[in-house]
Symmetry: C2
Subunit: 462 residues, 2 copies
Amino acid sequence: MPSDHRPAAGEAPALGDPAVTGVLAQYLANARAPDLPTRVRKEAARTFCNWLGCAVGGSRHEAVSIAIGALEPFSGPKQATVLGRAERLDILNAALVNGISSHVFDFDDTHLKTVIHPAGPVASAALAFAEYRPVSGRDFLHALVLGVETECRIGNAVFPAHYDVGWHITGTAGVFGAAAAIGKLLGLDAQRMAWALGLAATQPVGLREMFGTMTKSFHPGRAAQNGMTAALLAAGGYTSSDRAIEAKRGWATVLSTARNYAEITEGLGERFEIGLNTYKPFACGIVIHPAIDGCVQLRREHALTPEAVERIALRVNPLVLELTGKRTPQTGLEGKFSVFHACAVAIAEGAAGESQFSDAAVANPVIVALRDRVQATAAPEIPPEAVEIEMTLRDGGHVAKSVRHAIGSLERPMTDADLEAKFAGLTDSILSPSGARRLLDLCWRIEELGDVADIARAAAIA
Amino acid sequence: MPSDHRPAAGEAPALGDPAVTGVLAQYLANARAPDLPTRVRKEAARTFCNWLGCAVGGSRHEAVSIAIGALEPFSGPKQATVLGRAERLDILNAALVNGISSHVFDFDDTHLKTVIHPAGPVASAALAFAEYRPVSGRDFLHALVLGVETECRIGNAVFPAHYDVGWHITGTAGVFGAAAAIGKLLGLDAQRMAWALGLAATQPVGLREMFGTMTKSFHPGRAAQNGMTAALLAAGGYTSSDRAIEAKRGWATVLSTARNYAEITEGLGERFEIGLNTYKPFACGIVIHPAIDGCVQLRREHALTPEAVERIALRVNPLVLELTGKRTPQTGLEGKFSVFHACAVAIAEGAAGESQFSDAAVANPVIVALRDRVQATAAPEIPPEAVEIEMTLRDGGHVAKSVRHAIGSLERPMTDADLEAKFAGLTDSILSPSGARRLLDLCWRIEELGDVADIARAAAIA
């Protein structure tokens, strides 16, 4: 005769004796925008800019259209923009859909320490919310930083055990990030912020089994929506645990076999996880980024064309062939799992964006012919983030390139100009050149904006 | 340099080679209402009736009001009834709020084998949906049965390990139940039903740490909402895993250390878990139900009044004092954790509904005085579902009662008349007597109804 009542009310320690959740909630409630270091604010703008380009770029994907079609009949007032589209939805549904589109190309930002994609859950919630209640650019960036801080620190505390067992950490930790960001925009005190984290903890999203299906991109979107719901309920006084993360039957114990709470509680306000955020230059898994990077560099340095290249020999970490060893990809999606195709498009087009992984690109005879002239050898002494490339040219010449850290890594971050080029490539089929330029300018000037909703409106299609 | 891409598309076995998820999805897609045994349909009506009374009865709780207040600004068209109230919300939000109110008194049904409260996630979703797309009573009961079947079988497969680690199984398994029920009402084929189960699997709800806070009742509500969302997305073609339950990084492996898939796949359509559903006669944890039952029986048999009773001596399983040993409860909620208070109200009022666990009841001098005359002794030889009661009366007499199985157990189920009395007690402060009678009549006649939405409308307040 089991019972799921707990023995007595009032057992949980008061927030006056803060543990992990309490420390975090108090930090979030008390943090002030002017205290953010300049470099942190700068990185937040870069994170936001990269996320926005991904969301607009992904907005035509079938997953986005299906989600809108399925949920629009139940959506509330047309409060918020669906980025890159004409539809408007209530802010909770907009957060979901924008989160889907920002991740659907797998081209969004990565906190490499945890493989969390930080912006999806947080920015998708915060930008939609800013269309409901006006938010200045300064406060918006602050909420974005705090959301990223929250999800990445909680992720740090349980990575890799939590990820290894099968959780898609972007969704499971991301829901805390969204709750923290919206909680901050709502001005929650420490008690209600703790409840918001509790309501987030109880609705994690994302199993890794879903990778390869549309449900993967559902995860950051639903995390955004769940976190916003958590903050809205807590703001209204909906009670939850004060110890949701660290309690015996709380999030970290139930969802992970390992926990390091110091990752959550130490150095708050001193070090910022957003400083560890990275941006993908190429629209595929990062394991083949070094090879693409090297090929793009060789193309530029030697003005290479496909016809000029006789043979390409790669020496790669064994992981590269294990994950992306597809010799004859048949679809664009399969092309993302072929280091051979990726090198061929890098030589032929000097890029590896979404259009280089289209079905058409994979079927292009020039690309196919060049792809078949790429060889790859697994070499355990080559680290995963490196590659050795040797090319034999038709004219008998040889060129070579050794990449230690691919562009987009922490060691070789994308420049602002790189991010602008990526943004342009993602949005050029959706926005006019002047519209894209204007949107990008708003992103870089975000801290000066009195109302961040200007950005959302500029990312809508009439 | 980790990557969260999976190696290649198309790796998942086709649904043509069904494993656990596939077998379940095919059963759900092919099941036909006329094949349901009569006793199963009867139990489904009882389950529904009990759930509806709980939802109407809980509709004035602060948690319900807060949730409506927080989410109404974002709700869509006024498609569905908030039971027991005047507000209307879109069907997804109505499912959430009705799920909260149905569980907020902890008075809803219990599948004792798993401690799942089956109706909350399933009926909350299905009744709201029926206000959007007309559903006959026959099809509604069928969807309810299939939803309960799905959540309880999945619960059976992972209980108790999954519950013991800290998951609130009503929310984590319940989301599958809601997805199955709404998927059936949407007429999904096996492929889309599998996707609906996949989208459900990836958004489990509920940590046991939340017990004792409003977030506990959020769980069945959010499970209803998530399951409905899953079915709606799958109906639109939003893809998910075909092996969400049994895959290496699927629901059962990630959320439980033990799995028995035969509980899911064997005997589908032959045995029905709803036959194991039970209904609480008393508004508190079932561990003190035997004592209340015995006191109510003695009161009736001997026309006892509080004044007539000198002393009450209980012999109880040690669990009773461990969980409900509160000697001097100060609030109604604390009263639920006091076997002494519970016996006192049972003698004084012959009932232990929500009003017997009010703050006023706990402060009532007659109850307090009688409570202090209750003694309880822990006796390991008494099973948790039993009690031995001896009373010394003021007139020098003695009466005694031995309860082997409390009313509301599988061995001594509540009769239809008991359920009617419970329904009346829950709704009498909210509906007029004639309104409550009419609603109850609709519930008992549910199979004859052409449009189940008639019930929802009859449960609204003008």
